[in-house]
Symmetry: C2
Subunit: 229 residues, 2 copies
């Protein structure tokens, strides 16, 4: 696929063009650094937005859910969908209310999701999802049986039509405000960090936490340990 994003009118960023990214790898980096997306679908003429996990394989996004979900059922029936993934990296404290902002990376994907029904492809999609959300778990835990597979919808969505926006750096204040303001201005970074693993109460005492969980890399940009309070 072309390395450039935004081939259509709908996925061309109109607002905040200077924040629009055109490199497809910006999209991959964002998707690979987040856990969930927000899936939008039209039901009875009204929008419904639902959070759900995802995984990416090349230019295909896999989304899954229970077969009982009305939104997922609509998406699998060929309805158009919109998927947004957003990572907030910090709060921008400006000298005016108007120029306050967030540093972030966000992507919006448009398209028509297809239901993955071929058993081998469905297993592949679930494996991609699993490796994204819980790396190592596909290999180290019991894989889905036929009943579990039947109870799970897997959708595939092409990443062809996507836009990415990104803001970073200090506030963009008006000159007058920079000259006249007497308080601090800058960025308060926001990081996501893993806590200490909490063992299942049904676990025998002393079972070790495997490195893939105990040493799981942080999501997004890795914070300097000195820089987290």
């Amino acid at each position: 696929m072309d390395d450039q994003l935004s081939p259509t009118t709908r996925s061309t960023v109109r607002r905040g063009r200077k924040r629009a990214q055109t490199d497809r790898h910006q999209l991959y980096d964002l998707l690979d650094s987040c856990l969930i997306c927000h899936l939008g679908i039209v039901l009875d003429g009204a929008p419904v937005v639902l959070p759900t996990g995802y995984g990416r394989d090349g230019d295909t996004l896999y989304v899954h859910g229970s077969t009982g979900s009305a939104s997922l059922a609509a998406a699998t029936a060929g309805a158009p969908v919109s998927v947004a993934v957003t990572r907030v990296d910090g709060i921008v404290y400006a000298r005016s209310v108007f120029h306050h902002s967030m540093n972030y990376s966000s992507a919006v994907v448009h398209g028509t999701a297809t239901a993955v029904t071929d058993p081998a492809v469905k297993l592949h999609g679930l494996r991609v999802l699993t490796e994204h959300i819980v790396p190592g778990s596909w290999e180290h835990t019991r894989q889905p049986n036929r009943k579990e597979l039947a109870a799970t919808h897997v959708l595939a969505l092409s990443l062809r039509e996507a836009s990415v926006k990104l803001r970073s750096g200090p506030p963009n204040d008006e000159d007058d405000d920079v000259a006249g303001h007497r308080e601090w201005a800058g960025v308060l970074p926001l990081h996501q960090v893993w806590g200490t693993p909490e063992p299942c109460p049904l676990l025998p005492a002393g079972r070790a936490v495997p490195p893939r969980i105990a040493e799981r890399p942080v999501l997004g940009a890795r914070p300097d340990p000195e820089m987290v309070r």
Copy 2:
């Protein structure tokens, strides 16, 4: 407003009923602990999902954006919207791929947003938004002038039609898997923490970071300092 959530078919949780919450204060707690929402709207028959900041005043959600945004323009014209707010609290490592999950709190609000045009109400909405995303900044930075107000859309959405879902606790594994599994299972908590404030390069040297920023409380459940790695 009634303290109970879910008065309509659309906002009644069908999937995962045991995760559905019926106390309105669960909705408030979630909204007060997150920064952004995902706003869904229908444009030309297709859904569009966009991330944006919000603020809450009682049972009114305020959302804002640039007057150039097509989605916001559609919402202000009385189109139905869906707003989702999601906080991921941890990853649930189960003994089977199928029972892997996330601990989370999520809300989905349905309704028709109204454009806030009355100048006093618009200022109030922006103040609510500002106090939510950057507490203290309304008082301590320059408030919006007429031009800035005109360049900003403020939408108000009632929280009447809303659903909340929440998952917490250890994995819900099959008995056979609990008996037969030989690896660790449990929850890896995910926390959001503030980094060290980064001063604007245009700031005179030595200007102190005010306590409202330097000591800003963490979002969501406060992690035990001993429990964050």
